[in-house]
């Protein structure tokens, strides 16, 4: 039987989200060397993942703010406009922290964006308010990708916080996998949100970040638990320094 000591050590730390980028790569390499059929590797991942998930229950539950359940359900089902939850503008103002990432009410945002085959056109089309519109002076950069990977663009206003990611014709990913956005500063990838396209291959997301120091944006396919460092080759790359 192969030695799993090193892998167990890394899996235990990863389960607690404590791995640094280089160690994540070491673990990925170790796992690859054991192959996808390594039962012991899988057992360790399951068991330590279960331990990590259970640790949350050491904390006292927090009362959920009034309206939050309706808001989340409304966002999920596309009926957020009918909710009595805090207004989107209010939530954004209160919730905006440095680097915080959120998905906006996707239906409203999607309604403000029109995708064309040759590029990205932006306009307000029956949105619920200006807060969900992409500014008309936004800089739009198309990601480069292999044929068949779909199209993806990033829209942002230089010097301002707020980045929209808009995609179309994105292929469905296997179960348990998501697209993860990376903002690369020099050689350091800063993780962005993990995203799944809609059934029709479209995707709209908002990142509460500022791209002044970002040289390149990239998107990789990662496990749905998201990764702290890229574990696969990017499927989309956008060079923001030359656009």
């Amino acid at each position: 039987m192969r030695d799993h000591g090193r892998i167990e050590e890394l899996i235990a730390v990863r389960a607690l989200d404590g791995l640094d980028g280089e160690e994540a790569e070491v673990l990925a390499a170790e796992m690859a060397s054991h192959g996808p059929s390594c039962e012991e590797c899988r057992r360790l991942e399951v068991e330590y993942g279960e331990v990590a998930g259970r640790l949350a229950f050491a904390l006292d539950p927090e009362p959920v703010p009034a309206g939050m359940e309706d808001l989340v359900v409304g966002l999920a089902t596309g009926s957020a406009a009918r909710l009595s939850a805090p207004a989107p503008g209010e939530r954004r103002a209160r919730g905006r922290g440095p680097g915080g990432v959120r998905l906006r009410p996707l239906v409203a945002v999607a309604a403000s964006i029109v995708l064309f085959a040759g590029g990205l056109a932006i306009g307000a089309i029956a949105t619920g308010g200006n807060e969900n519109e992409i500014p008309s002076d936004a800089r739009v950069v198309a990601f480069q990708a292999e044929p068949g990977a779909g199209t993806l663009s990033v829209a942002y206003t230089p010097g301002e916080s707020g980045v929209y990611i808009v995609g179309a014709d994105l292929p469905a990913l296997p179960a348990g996998q998501v697209y993860e956005v990376w903002m690369i500063e020099g050689e350091t990838p800063i993780p962005g949100p993990c995203l799944s396209p809609a059934a029709d291959g479209s995707l709209v997301a908002f990142i509460d970040a500022e791209l002044a120091t970002t040289d390149v944006m990239a998107v990789t396919v990662e496990p749905e638990t998201c990764s702290t460092a890229p574990t696969t080759t990017p499927v989309f790359v956008a060079d923001l320094t030359t656009a």
Binding site: E9, V46, G53, V73
Partner: protein
């Protein structure tokens, strides 16, 4: 219905040699996830009602910003709605899957902030850091349900040094290298304490109901 599902899952677990117990609570959770996959809103509300309070506690504990924590919980539950097939019944309980998603997003948020703050606070990085012992804070809840008590007992039963690194990693969202830096320990020591602590927790939690 639940008994049949329980039996099936137990058999599956035994076949795989996974040393975790299965109970009706997780059977119910799995039914909810299956119903969510069918687009049933009530099931989504059911799962939210069961776990949003704990998810919120976890997110707040890690990011320490109430509204950012709400966004993280919101994002995690939306991920469940959008991709319920992401739950793999072979890989553990629904509640652990959900909390792992919340934790990962919370840690990402903390590290993203840290990255953005790094340049501005370069000079403060060498300042001494007071390491809080959160064990008391974590363990002082009154009237916790059985599971909470069991998890707290498992955590409280760890040797102090192991508990410290696990709490810094999990509840404060620090990476192993940051912990080594903070505690002025060799990285290898942090790794070994983490592994030993996690092994103990795994043993202690192996008998817990899902």
């Amino acid at each position: 219905m639940e008994d049949a599902l329980l039996l099936e899952m137990t058999r599956s677990s035994l076949t795989r040699g996974v040393t975790v117990a299965v109970d009706l609570s997780d059977a119910r959770d799995r039914e909810l996830v299956e119903a969510i996959a069918r687009g049933e809103e009530e099931a989504f509300r059911g799962l939210f009602g069961r776990y949003a309070p704990t998810a919120l506690a976890l997110a707040r504990r890690v990011v320490r910003q109430p509204f950012l924590a709400e966004e993280i919980v919101q994002e995690a539950f939306l991920a469940v709605w959008r991709n319920p097939a992401g739950f793999d019944r072979q890989r553990g309980s629904v509640k652990a899957w959900l909390m792992v998603m919340v934790h990962h997003r919370a840690v990402d948020a903390v590290r993203r902030e840290e990255s953005q703050r790094r340049r501005a606070e370069e000079s403060q990085r060498s300042d001494p850091v007071v390491v809080l012992d959160h064990a008391d804070q974590v363990a002082e809840a009154v009237g916790a349900p059985q599971e909470r008590e069991a998890v707290r007992n498992a955590l409280g039963g760890l040797p102090e040094q192991q508990r410290q690194v696990i709490e810094l990693m999990y509840f404060d969202g620090l990476s192993q290298s940051k912990i080594a830096e903070r505690l002025d320990l060799p990285l290898g020591t942090v790794k070994s304490r983490t592994l030993l602590g996690m092994r103990r927790l795994r043993s202690a939690m192996a008998g817990l109901e899902r």
